[in-house]
């Protein structure tokens, strides 16, 4: 039995998770998302990461990006390494992919700002 705080929404439900190796039971969650989260934490914890990539544009030396879907928690720093390699030389828009299928995780790194498009 262990205690887990749900990070899906600002409610931050404190949940109790029972795992006997076969099945997982969750209590204390206010919504089904909590149960999903607890289940994922027990089997394959995932997280979102947000960062920036370098650009060649002096007015915006970095452009904010995030992963298009959650990635395994233990791959966060591997993905950061990939993000750190990028230098954008063309203006792209909010939602455009900066890296597709990063590290074959089935997830893209997408731009989250329009600054390059707006200023170009």
């Amino acid at each position: 039995m262990k205690e887990l705080v749900c990070i899906v929404c600002p409610n931050g439900c404190v949940m109790t998770v029972n795992s006997d190796g076969q099945s997982i039971t969750v209590t204390g969650n206010k919504c089904p998302k909590g149960e999903q989260f607890a289940y994922a934490e027990e089997t394959n914890p995932t997280r979102t990461i947000c960062s920036t990539v370098k650009t060649a544009f002096p007015y915006a030396p970095v452009l904010p990006v995030r992963v298009s879907a959650e990635i395994p928690k233990n791959r966060i720093f591997d993905v950061m390494c990939e993000i750190n390699k990028v230098v954008l030389r063309q203006p792209i828009a909010c939602g455009d992919a900066v890296i597709t299928n990063v590290l074959s995780l089935g997830v893209d790194i997408i731009a989250t700002s329009n600054i390059l498009k707006q200023s170009s």
Binding site: V5, C6, I7, V8, C9, P10, G12, R47, T48, I49, C50, S51, T52, K54, A60, P61, V62, P64, R66, K73, I76, F77, M80, C94, T112, S113, N114, I115, Q118
Partner: protein, 419 residues
């Protein structure tokens, strides 16, 4: 002189929402923003978690802002960017503003004004940190500006003081960029930020959180070399024998936000010492007729969704602003309530459906918000837990209560059985 119905000062989430709502309500709107781009502080809040309430999605700050900027553009609202308001006066013709930008000094006149001026961060001196004056002491927002907008690393190894959300977010951000966060120190016995941020920003990255501990002094002649930390007693006073020195190159402060209301004060707007924002009625009109307040200038919010909501309320009301007498009664707060917005109710309003924002004074389990009118309970809402960092919102229609100027309207939080 430009003459318009509604002027909105501030192009962050509150101002954008206010301008869009005012325009939708049929007003001619002008938005004034001192920076080059709209979006306010969201431009540098690149982490996700914005918009869950409003859009049911976890957006990053710039994405959340982008949705409003798009609507703003579609609505064809005029914006003066890189424009700084230097003076506001109330005149018989309306509210007169003086601003400067690259074209010179601009004079503007408006029937109504929405102040969406946001907030600023408390500084090291305001929390009485002593010692030398080296470089390397940043507020979390300034560190965020360096990292997320300028791509510059302000630290390799830092101590974070204060467990406010921006501090927690920055702990994770610095770690992702290869910096080391030695620890987050919080003088209070409970964290100031959202619980989920403690987990996903600190514990996920093995960053320790020290409660009831604070930073008292800094060392270093040029760049910061170390800080002195210590435990504090229940009165927040340092305990002598607990002093220790922690080596680091930066001290990052997340010790609170203060609504920016210098312009409001110049207009004679009455401020609430509890929120540090204007005292408002249910339409978020301040004590000065025709002047409205919203977002973090009104009170410091923890979720941008409610910032936008208050902007919409203020914007719409500003568009519909007609000069008329107000009959106001005080919404009195009592036991366990840190603050409540609005602080007043204008009984002359057509509609008394009101959105109430409040915070509890301390962490409370299984408590209810209770509203009494002239001593009689008229409303109760049960909460499994109330935490001061997490603002609560309830909607309530005062219309059916038949309030009179003599009514005593009183809110308190008390432990009562769930009904």
């Amino acid at each position: 002189m430009t003459n318009t119905d509604v002027i909105v000062i501030g192009g962050g989430p509150a101002g954008l929402a206010a301008a869009i709502a005012a325009k939708k309500a049929g007003a001619e709107v002008l938005l004034i923003e001192r920076e080059a781009r709209l979006g306010g502080i969201l431009k540098q809040c690149i982490h996700d978690g914005f918009g869950l309430v409003r859009f049911g999605e976890k957006l990053s700050g710039p994405e959340y802002a982008e949705r409003f900027i798009q609507k703003f553009d579609e609505a064809n609202i005029e914006a003066l960017t890189l424009t700084f308001v230097t003076k506001i006066e109330k005149t018989p013709e309306g509210i007169r503003l003086t601003a400067v930008n690259r074209n010179g000094v601009v004079q503007l006149l408006s029937k109504a004004l929405v102040l969406a001026t946001g907030c600023r961060e408390r500084t090291a001196k305001q929390i009485f940190i002593h010692g030398t004056r080296p470089s390397g002491i940043f507020t979390a927002g300034t560190a965020q500006h360096f990292i997320n907008l300028l791509g510059q690393m302000p630290t390799k190894k830092c101590v974070i003081l204060g467990s406010g959300d921006i501090g927690l977010i920055m702990a994770r951000r610095i770690t992702l960029e290869g910096g080391k966060v030695v620890g987050v120190y919080e003088a209070k016995s409970t964290p100031s930020g959202l619980t989920r941020n403690i987990y996903q920003c600190l514990y996920d990255y093995d960053i320790p959180l020290y409660l009831s501990k604070t930073v008292t002094r800094v060392f270093g002649d040029d760049r910061l070399a170390a800080v002195e930390v210590c435990s504090v007693d229940e009165n927040m006073r340092p305990i002598e024998e607990t002093f220790e020195i922690v080596e680091c190159d930066s001290l990052i402060l997340s010790v609170g936000l203060i609504p920016e209301n210098e312009l409001a004060e110049n207009l004679g707007v009455e401020l609430d010492p509890r929120t540090k924002g204007p005292v408002c009625d249910e339409h978020l009109m301040t004590s000065v007729d025709g002047v409205f307040s919203c977002g973090n200038a009104l009170h410091v919010n923890d979720l941008v969704d409610y910032v936008s909501e208050s902007g919409e309320c203020a914007g719409k009301a500003a568009a519909n602003f007609l000069r008329r007498e107000r009959t106001e009664i005080e919404l009195i707060i009592g036991k366990n309530v840190q603050y409540l917005i609005p602080q007043r109710l204008d009984l002359n309003a057509e509609d008394l459906k009101t959105v109430l924002y409040f915070r509890s004074r301390e962490v409370l389990q299984k408590n209810s918000l209770i509203l009494t009118v002239d001593g009689c309970d008229v409303y109760r809402k049960w909460f499994s837990v109330l935490r001061p960092p997490e603002m609560e919102r309830v909607e309530f229609d005062f219309g059916p209560l038949g309030l009179t100027p003599q009514s005593q309207v009183y809110f308190r939080i008390e432990e009562v059985e769930r009904t």
